[in-house]
């Protein structure tokens, strides 16, 4: 008898908590000192404001609580504990660095609260820590894993070579920054491209960690004489790498950069012309996707500056995906919210419809495909996938101006 009484009391308390205050709380952690993290929190707040203006969800207003995880594991864990036990949020989202995400996994597993991750690409650490379904079904990984990205680029180059017969790729060289991000990109790409292409690579110390000289990695690339040269580093490496390549007269037919974000004044540099890049979102998608145009204009109006990376659009999408799922689920408790999220079909500002499908280990993986773009006249133009292509491919890379 006593057990039943306790259950009822609990349910009542929960009901009161959920409906009494008339608020649905979203808890998020991003590195607020990092420009991408800052843009995530602004984009997420923009989405919350838009939804509240349109009447909120299930008659209740959304509230976003953001905690700075400072890009550190222990701070990330403290952020989750605060959001869950102090702010008593209903749904969790956010994150950028894999190092923070992997440290948070044990704490998240403790609470099994629905989490929509906007970052963490390192499958070797984060996805392995999450473990297989059903144990990790509460985790909805919006951001692609490193092997998803690799697979997507593999298909992209295949499609490009079919559409543009003059584009012939046999030798690929990947210059990767020596940290976790670079190494996991190299491992994933080598596994995928190794079979069909002659694939090799070398590491360099990123300018983010005090590196100042790309000569040895560029010389290794030059000796390899690749048809496709890719570098996986950070925004700080973008222009210095191009300048040193020009100085060394290294100009591969395709020169491609894959940093998480690009420097603001990249477009102003003549060296950027016809440089290709991997990405998920770019302002040029506004011309093709109305959702992107709506997000971009609203973001510029709200913050006064344009987003510099895809993380903003991703965080904006995360909020809408959660709101939509809560509406269909009629509540925020995991039992109903998880199935609702599984049926997500969200036309995102990233120029694609987001659904959740299984990945190598976990069951709910959101975005898998990336885009291949090219800097043309100071703007990132989409080349592939062709359904969102905004400009024709310029091939090969013209001699350095």
């Amino acid at each position: 008898m006593r057990k039943a009484f306790v259950a009822v009391a609990c349910f009542a308390l929960l009901a009161v908590a959920a409906f009494g205050q008339g608020v649905i709380k979203l808890g998020a952690n991003w590195p607020l000192a990092d420009v991408s993290g800052l843009e995530c929190s602004k984009a997420a707040q923009l989405a919350v404001d838009e939804i509240n203006k349109a009447g909120g969800v299930l008659g209740k207003q959304l509230q976003l609580v953001v905690v700075d995880d400072e890009g550190k594991g222990d701070k990330g864990v403290a952020a989750i504990e605060k959001l869950v036990t102090v702010d008593k949020v209903d749904v969790l989202l956010g994150g950028i660095a894999s190092g923070v995400a992997v440290a948070q996994v044990p704490t998240l597993k403790k609470y099994q609260m629905v989490t929509v991750a906007t970052g963490a690409a390192a499958s070797a650490s984060v996805e392995k820590a999450l473990g297989p379904s059903p144990g990790s079904d509460w985790y909805f990984h919006l951001h692609p894993w490193d092997y998803d990205q690799g697979q997507s680029y593999y298909e992209g180059w295949d499609a490009i070579q079919k559409k543009y017969p003059n584009v012939v790729i046999r030798r690929i060289f990947l210059a990767y920054e020596e940290g976790a991000f670079g190494k996991s990109s190299f491992d994933a790409s080598k596994a995928l491209f190794g079979s069909r292409y002659t694939f090799d690579g070398a590491s360099f110390k990123s300018a983010l960690q005090g590196g100042s000289d790309y000569s040895s990695v560029l010389e290794a690339a030059k000796d390899f004489n690749p048809d496709l040269f890719i570098w996986a580093g950070y925004a700080q490496d973008a222009l210095p790498l191009l300048e040193q390549s020009k100085a060394m007269k290294f100009s591969p037919p395709i020169y491609l950069g894959a940093p998480p974000a690009w420097p603001v004044d990249m477009g102003k540099s003549p060296l950027a012309e016809d440089i290709m890049l991997y990405g998920m979102w770019a302002p040029s998608i506004n011309d093709i996707s109305p959702a992107s145009r709506k997000f971009y204009d609203a973001y510029v109006a709200a913050t006064g500056s344009a987003p510099t990376s895809y993380f903003a659009a991703l965080s904006y999408s995360a909020v809408y995906i959660i709101a939509d799922a809560v509406k269909r689920a009629g509540g925020t408790d995991a039992a109903r919210l998880i199935p609702a999220l599984e049926k997500t079909r969200y036309v995102s500002p990233l120029g694609q419809t987001i659904t959740f499908t299984p990945s190598n280990i976990i069951k709910h993986q959101g975005i898998k495909n990336q885009k291949i773009l090219q800097w043309q006249d100071g703007r990132q133009e989409v080349i592939w996938p062709f359904e969102v292509q905004s400009r024709a491919l310029v091939y090969p890379l013209p001699p350095w101006k």
């Binding site: 420009v35 005090g210 000289d213 222009l239």
Partner: protein
């Protein structure tokens, strides 16, 4: 930490050592030239950058005897000033070099008077953590104002290149080596030829003795610190030309300069040229061996430890 400014004296007993070292270096250079000549070019360029950034810190450590952990952050602030000079006033970083250095010298003087001056009597650890706090405040303030977004000027002369045979390489980076040599010789002349310089050297070697003969030690410390911050300001302006800048760009350079200064021996400004050459070359050579680039840092730190240990063994014997 009263440490005398040491200058390597080549006594008769050590002549054969010098001959041995130069012969070894010549053989090494020849070997590398044949195998991978560009490793030498990039080694010298890299050494130039390390030395140019480290020399102002050596000046402060040698004369004022404080370890300035905000050294890299001050270079970062100067780079931001030069960036705005370029964006708003259209000044090329090399033109903006002098005004930026002056503004930084004033900022350095202000920082010194407000904070560092009061902790000079405290043990050197206090000044260390004081400047560590200053470094955090400076970098986070810039981060607050301009976000962690990285900025970069695109100047075409930066990718100037030369071609020898079928190898072409960047030549702009020799500017750092030039700056380092200019700084070292300029300071050497200043410290040994000018009145103010000799006073500073005296204060560095024996503050009490200098005070007795009428040198205003306090003012000399302030002047030297402001001069050093001005010089790192100039280096920051040159740094902007080729490198991307962001609030945390200074950190790694503080640590590398700190290691270099200790390796060269505190106050030994010219020694920094030799040490950074040794480090730059060894790092560049290891870096150019395929697959071992990641290990170049081990070489950097291993050489530092060996040099410090060898000097302590030699001192222990003397």
């Amino acid at each position: 930490m009263r440490i005398v400014v040491t200058r390597p004296r080549v006594g008769p007993g050590r002549m054969w050592q010098v001959v041995l070292w130069t012969a070894l270096a010549a053989a090494g250079t020849a070997a590398v030239l044949l195998w991978k000549p560009t490793a030498l070019v990039y080694g010298v360029q890299r050494a130039g950058l390390y030395a140019a950034v480290a020399i102002p810190m050596a000046l402060v450590l040698g004369i004022v005897h404080i370890v300035n952990l905000a050294h890299g952050e001050l270079m970062m602030v100067a780079a931001y000033l030069a960036y705005f000079a370029a964006r708003l006033l259209g000044l090329d970083p090399f033109v903006a070099l002098v005004p930026v250095a002056l503004v930084m010298a004033v900022l350095g003087l202000a920082l010194y008077q407000v904070t560092i001056r009061h902790s000079l009597k405290a043990p050197e650890l206090n000044q260390l953590i004081l400047t560590f706090g200053l470094g955090i405040a400076l970098s986070q303030m810039v981060n607050l104002l301009f976000t962690s977004q990285s900025w970069k000027l695109s100047l075409d002369y930066v990718s100037a290149s030369a071609t020898v045979g079928n190898i072409s390489f960047g030549v702009f980076d020799f500017v750092y080596a030039g700056a380092a040599i200019a700084l070292a010789l300029g300071l050497r002349l200043f410290l040994t030829r000018t009145r103010l310089g000799k006073a500073a050297l005296a204060v560095g070697q024996n503050p009490r003795g200098a005070a007795i003969v009428g040198i205003d030690v306090g003012r000399t410390y302030a002047f030297v610190f402001a001069l050093a911050v001005g010089l790192i300001g100039a280096v920051g302006s040159i740094f902007l030309a080729k490198q991307a800048i962001f609030p945390l760009v200074g950190g790694p350079y503080t640590m590398k300069s700190f290691c270099l200064v200790a390796m060269a021996g505190v106050g030994n400004i010219v020694g920094i040229l030799y040490c950074s050459l040794a480090l730059g070359l060894s790092e560049s050579i290891i870096n150019s061996i395929r697959g071992y680039a990641g290990w170049s840092n081990v070489v950097f730190f291993a050489i530092i430890i060996v040099t410090i240990l060898v000097r302590s063994f030699r001192e222990r014997k003397a």
